[in-house]
């Protein structure tokens, strides 16, 4: 998109080819770049490509040659006033005001809330917001900025220390007070504010505008505020887990201006409502917490953003173990059952490396690493079966991901990995078209695309979602926001 604006501002005509269903988002993006009337030609999501190309050829040329309309010649300024007090009235009147919704034509006339996530909120009176602000020493009018350098983890997210955070998709800014307003609305307590401000520093729940992020609290603050890291940590009943996750989504909606299909082009959305904590105390000996993996000390707290590397943007999916908990216990306790048979461990008592059983399902349809959420005793089994650090697990997963190139090149997303973004096969240093079919290539670019979070409780299963980008920086300090 910036290319288009650069061309138009340089006096050179430009035209975009896009899908019609993305048009509202494109118009918003063009407005933010100062060229709201950018010309667009729509192609088909389903039609034959060559026929579609023939159909749009003339319209493309027309877009570059037909003289401008008077509207397209307009210039000016787009300004949105920022009022600190949005509404004055009784509680009943305010409830009606904040819970208003509008029909959105491009969503089949579905209702979209103007100020909420669709649920009832706690009304943000000035007094409640002031009470919320007691949870941080930062001034209410302080603009949210990066507290340290952050290598971009997604488009538009990251930058140098001190840079104002731009909340996507509308690239808005926010103050500490505005974060507190959203915190009140989400039902948070004031002691959650340092976590919420760290999430705000990470761009809120919007990421690059398409949302679908998960947030993990790593470090002692999780226990200080009573988060649930055990059975049901992704479910209801814990105020911190649920309301912090909700506040992140409200930041995406309110600070960032998310309206699906109008300002942001996502897919399904995010079924993960909760923020959840890592159970640092349950880590096997020698295993680092996620906070330590990113240079924090064990007693320092951070928020770890689980993004969408290797997966479709705007859609967050959990995968889980293919074995039943009873089968898992039998395997570990006595070497019984089908897991032991597949792994050649019949009759051999554990602890065994259970990840070996999961290998065929990890990369069944895709490439890339994963964020694993692993129960404490299952992490302990990995430790006792020989992995004395998380790094050793990451390395083992990387090595286990190698497959022959002839299989690799028929994976669904191979264009992203073996195409122009990565013209050279990493392990050989050769261009992809020189790689023989029987050459073994990794499905994980780097061992550190994987990340282990020890958390959860109850029956023995593990869960995984898309992995992380090595060398990016998805961890944001919480203590600096106290």
């Amino acid at each position: 998109m910036p290319n288009i604006a650069q061309f138009e501002k340089a006096g050179k005509p430009a035209v975009l080819i896009l899908f019609e269903d993305q048009d509202e988002c494109l118009k918003q993006g063009a407005l933010l770049l100062g060229v709201p009337h950018i010309r667009r030609v729509y192609c088909s999501r389903t039609g034959n490509g060559a026929e579609d190309a023939a159909r749009i050829t003339r319209p493309l040329i027309n877009a570059l040659t037909i003289p401008l309309t008077s509207k397209e010649c307009e210039s000016g300024k787009w300004e949105v006033p920022d009022k600190r007090v949005l509404f004055e009235g009784t509680l009943d009147e305010a409830e009606e005001f904040y819970e208003r919704a509008e029909r959105v034509p491009v969503l089949g006339n579905a209702y979209m809330s103007l100020y909420t996530d669709g649920m009832a909120i706690k009304l943000p009176t000035e007094e409640r917001v002031q009470a919320m602000l007691k949870g941080t020493s930062h001034k209410p009018d302080e603009v949210i900025t990066l507290q340290s350098d952050h290598t971009p983890r997604e488009m538009g997210v990251g930058g140098k220390k001190g840079a104002p955070v731009r909340f996507e998709p509308l690239k808005r800014r926010a103050t500490v007070e505005k974060v507190a307003v959203n915190a009140v609305m989400a039902g948070c307590r004031s002691e959650y504010m340092p976590i919420l401000l760290a999430i705000a520093e990470a761009g809120g729940g919007g990421g690059d505008g398409r949302g679908s992020l998960g947030f993990c609290v790593t470090g002692p603050i999780a226990k200080e505020i009573g988060m649930n890291f055990d059975v049901g940590m992704l479910g209801p009943k814990n105020q911190a887990n649920r309301s912090i996750g909700r506040a992140a989504e409200l930041m995406w909606c309110n600070l960032g201006g998310n309206i699906p299909k109008v300002t942001s082009c996502g897919i399904m959305g995010n079924p993960l409502f909760n923020c959840f904590p890592e159970n640092i105390d349950a880590l096997p000996p020698g295993w680092k917490g996620v906070n330590e993996e990113y240079g924090f000390k064990r007693n320092e707290s951070a928020i770890y953003v689980i993004g969408m590397r290797g997966g479709p943007p705007g859609s967050f999916t959990f995968h889980s173990t293919e074995f039943g908990p009873g089968g898992y216990r039998t395997f570990q306790k006595s070497g019984g059952g089908s897991i032991a048979t597949r792994l050649g461990k019949d009759g051999i008592q554990g602890p065994h490396n259970w990840l070996e059983y999961e290998i065929p399902s990890f990369w069944a349809g895709k490439e890339g690493g994963f964020n694993f959420i692993i129960l404490p005793e299952m992490a302990q089994h990995l430790y006792e079966s020989g992995f004395k650090s998380k790094d050793e697990v990451y390395e083992w997963l990387y090595k286990a991901s190698f497959i022959p190139f002839k299989e690799y090149k028929i994976k669904a997303a191979v264009g992203w990995h073996a195409g122009a973004y990565h013209p050279i096969e990493k392990t050989s240093g050769k261009p992809w078209d020189q790689i023989p079919d029987d050459y073994m290539v990794p499905l994980v670019d780097d061992p550190y695309e994987n990340c282990i979070i020890v958390a959860g409780g109850g029956e023995e299963t593990s869960h995984w979602v898309n992995g992380r980008t090595p060398n990016a920086d998805p961890a944001y300090g919480i203590d600096v926001w106290r």
């Binding site: 061309f7 975009l16 080819i17 787009w78 600070l255």
Partner: protein
């Protein structure tokens, strides 16, 4: 209590003002013009690859710069182009 009037604060982010520009004047002719065709992503596009071929065949008087995804478009590339077709969909 129910009739007490409160002030309720604004949860929306701060939108910086944006200067709006008119579109660039369109091309008065195609003959001899340098038009960049930029593919935003490099994938096996059912649409953009045949489109490149049709544009070349139907408009041979244009100097086409068929650019694949890669480094950002440079100032020099913009200076040396007369127009841009950008493929966002693929």
């Amino acid at each position: 209590m129910a009739d007490k009037v409160y002030k309720f604060l604004n949860p929306l982010g701060i939108q910086d003002s944006v200067t709006l520009y008119p579109l660039a004047l369109r091309l008065d002719r195609l003959n001899g013009k340098n038009i960049m065709f930029n593919m935003l992503v490099q994938v096996e596009s059912e649409l953009l690859i045949p489109l490149q071929k049709i544009l070349r065949n139907n408009y041979p008087e244009v100097h086409w710069n068929m650019r694949e995804s890669g480094p950002p478009i440079s100032e020099d590339e913009i200076r040396n182009s007369d127009a841009l077709i950008q493929g966002v969909a693929f």
